[in-house]
């Protein structure tokens, strides 16, 4: 905003070509229309589209419902301004909690005020890494209840910038820790359109949100210059060695419908939770082709043994499988070959085993 004590604009008010003039307290105020300069994330679109709807919905609440919101608002503080916390109005609290819920995909409006303020913990973690290949926080404890993690990040800033919290945008509104890990690598790339760049500084804000009530925890803020090592140990951090659905090549050899295999590096442990439909396959095996990147990820071809069973239509027949990978020319194949049990063409492979060197 610009305030000009200009005689030329004395008594003038109105808008023209993006410039608005108005008279406030005996002064003429000229303001230039502002346009958003940052990235518009999915979460922001949700918030903006929901905001108006939620705001209007407040007027439709019953008197009792409004009173309950007012009572709750009396015990709720807004953002701190110059060390003094602002009071939130009932309307603002209603809008804030419901837009928070909208982030998490809650489509039904919370009309009844929560019985009390819900204390949400701060996000805790043991280490994190912002590298060109990996944006990840590890050692994040599972939260009590059904909390989800909201992650805000800025794009790369000059390494000398000390404060760019205002430039953070939500890159992921609904993460839950997966074995203590919050992996933001793909979310960052999807929102920013590129991976982090070595040498640039990134600002990250994390907080829990309760999708039921919309309450959020106190944000935890970290800033870090993109580099290979993690913040605490300095060791390179890579994504976990897994085979997931995204590793399956969509071709005629796709008989696995849900692929979830993970190698626990260093301990030779492999765990699997796989669903298959081999109805159109003539061999007693569940298989799919995987990408070369996934094949290489496991180091080299391996073999293992797992339990499994056919589904209800197949009579819940117990199976045991030989699970292995091999390369077939330019194709890289993941196979669960049934060895024991009565074959059911639709079923599951699951369990924990060791990885063994592949033996022909």
């Amino acid at each position: 905003m610009i305030a000009l004590p200009s005689i030329a604009f004395e008594g003038f008010s109105g808008s023209a070509k993006g410039v608005t003039a108005r008279r406030v307290g005996g002064r003429n105020i000229l303001s230039v229309r502002s346009y958003p300069t940052g990235y518009v994330t999915v979460a922001q679109v949700v918030r903006r589209s929901a905001l108006s709807k939620i705001s209007k919905a407040y007027k439709n609440l019953t008197d009792d419902q409004m009173k309950a919101w007012e009572q709750l608002a009396e015990h709720t503080a807004g953002a701190s301004v110059f060390g003094q916390k602002a009071k939130l109005s009932a309307h603002n609290l209603f809008v804030r909690l419901n837009t928070n819920r909208a982030y998490c995909g809650e489509s039904i409006l919370l009309e009844a005020a929560p019985a009390s303020i819900v204390a949400i913990p701060a996000v805790d973690f043991t280490d994190f890494c912002i590298s060109e290949n990996c944006v990840m926080f590890i050692g994040v404890p599972d939260p009590e209840g059904e909390l989800k993690l909201v992650a805000k990040m800025s794009d790369g800033q000059s390494s000398g910038v000390s404060n760019a919290w205002g430039k953070t945008v939500i890159i992921s509104p609904d993460k839950v820790p997966d074995w203590g890990e919050i992996d933001l690598t793909d979310a960052f790339k999807a929102v920013m359109g590129h991976s982090p760049i070595n040498g640039q500084k990134y600002f990250v804000e994390l907080y829990w949100i309760d999708p039921v009530t919309g309450f959020t925890g106190v944000p935890v803020q970290v800033s870090w210059i993109c580099q290979d090592g993690s913040a605490h140990t300095g060791r390179a951090m890579a994504k976990r060695t897994t085979f997931k659905n995204s590793d399956i090549v969509d071709n005629e050899n796709k008989f696995i419908t849900d692929l979830d295999v993970e190698f626990a590096q260093g301990s030779t442990i492999v765990t699997a939770d796989i669903k298959y439909d081999a109805t159109k396959h003539n061999v007693q095996e569940a298989l799919c082709d995987i990408t070369k990147a996934a094949y290489d990820r496991a180091g080299k071809k391996f073999t293992s043994v797992m339990l499994g069973r056919s589904n209800g239509n197949g009579g819940y027949m117990p199976h045991f499988f030989n699970m292995y990978t091999y390369d077939w020319g330019s194709q890289y194949r993941f196979v669960c070959a049934k060895r024991g049990g009565m074959w059911g063409k639709i079923g599951e492979v699951f369990g924990t085993s060791l990885t063994f060197e592949f033996v022909n």
């Binding site: 976990r240 043994v305 060895r339 063994f356």
Partner: protein, 369 residues
Amino acid sequence: MIQSTGNNFGAGVITFKDYQSEHEIVLNGSFEYLDTTDAYKKADVLEIYLPDLRLSRSAISGCYCAAKGPYAWMGTTAKCWIKNRNTLCIEKLDVWTDRPERKIWIFALFGLRGFHDLQVTHETLKTPQLAQSELLGYVRNKYFYANEHFMLLAFTFSELTFNKPYEKIDIVTNADEDFPEDVDAVVPFVTCQCDNKPGCAIIEGRFKDCALLLSGVPEAMSYGTGYVPFFYAWLVRDGGSGPAPDVDGRIRILVTSQIQGSVRYTYIYKVDMDLVDGRVILNGRMTFNLNSNREAYFTVPSIPDGTPSCDAFLLAKNGNEDLHSFGLVEVSLNTQLGAKSIKLINVNNEPYFYGIAKDTGVCATLEFE
């Protein structure tokens, strides 16, 4: 051993033999319960409460669950996992509505997920030559792995339809090397006999004294492919390599490696001998080389006191893989007058004998001190 402190489905105290480390847990145990109890009906997931486990959680593992049918336990596999340091969870697979008696066998390995910065490594899997005392079927798809804490054995029987198998007792052993002798467990064996209810018959065998003993194995349903009975279990070892404590009168002699004096090409390596059955039977598993001399003496201080002097003949195959031949080695144990020695004698016409013996013989000239 660990004992449960409770459960949420009305079973009694449950005992597991366990191996626990930083990265993995192996649990062995089985238990029965009824599906008619209120506790079971209320449970969404079966939970067994245990004293503190080394892992605070685990990935999915697999176990066996069954309902008692008219002839056998009829069952399938189920998922199980460690939920927290004190809770083992088992998938509630409630598909036998008219069979209230239930049983679960857990012979499972539990491990973690969530590792980031270490390389994937591999163990070495063995394909053992499994021998059967009765030919119930053809043993195929054999997988064996053992470390000092636990072992994995998995194999299938194909065409399990011969010679009224119900009447047979089958002892499955490893002809290549003995299975660990410090494993003792009543284990599930999955047959492929069905009765139009979910799952198929699961019978119990016993793994003990380096062998899997199976009895009452029913015929499989068909010769057809796909009907393949199997065994798959992770088994906890008790530790130590001493003789099983409950075998009365057993004498065991173990020698890791010994060369006869300075004579090159005359050595014994990995001798493992048992004198059992009133000390008349000598079972020997040994690798030796008698290429320089027809006879070789080895002083073996570890021969237990009270071992009788005796002679026995053992068959041995030629250790050179290119020579598909076998021969006879005479084993002479001398404990007279305080001596503790083993003499190996090449009793073949061939002068050079590098052999691997795995045989049981009757002891001759048995003499007690």
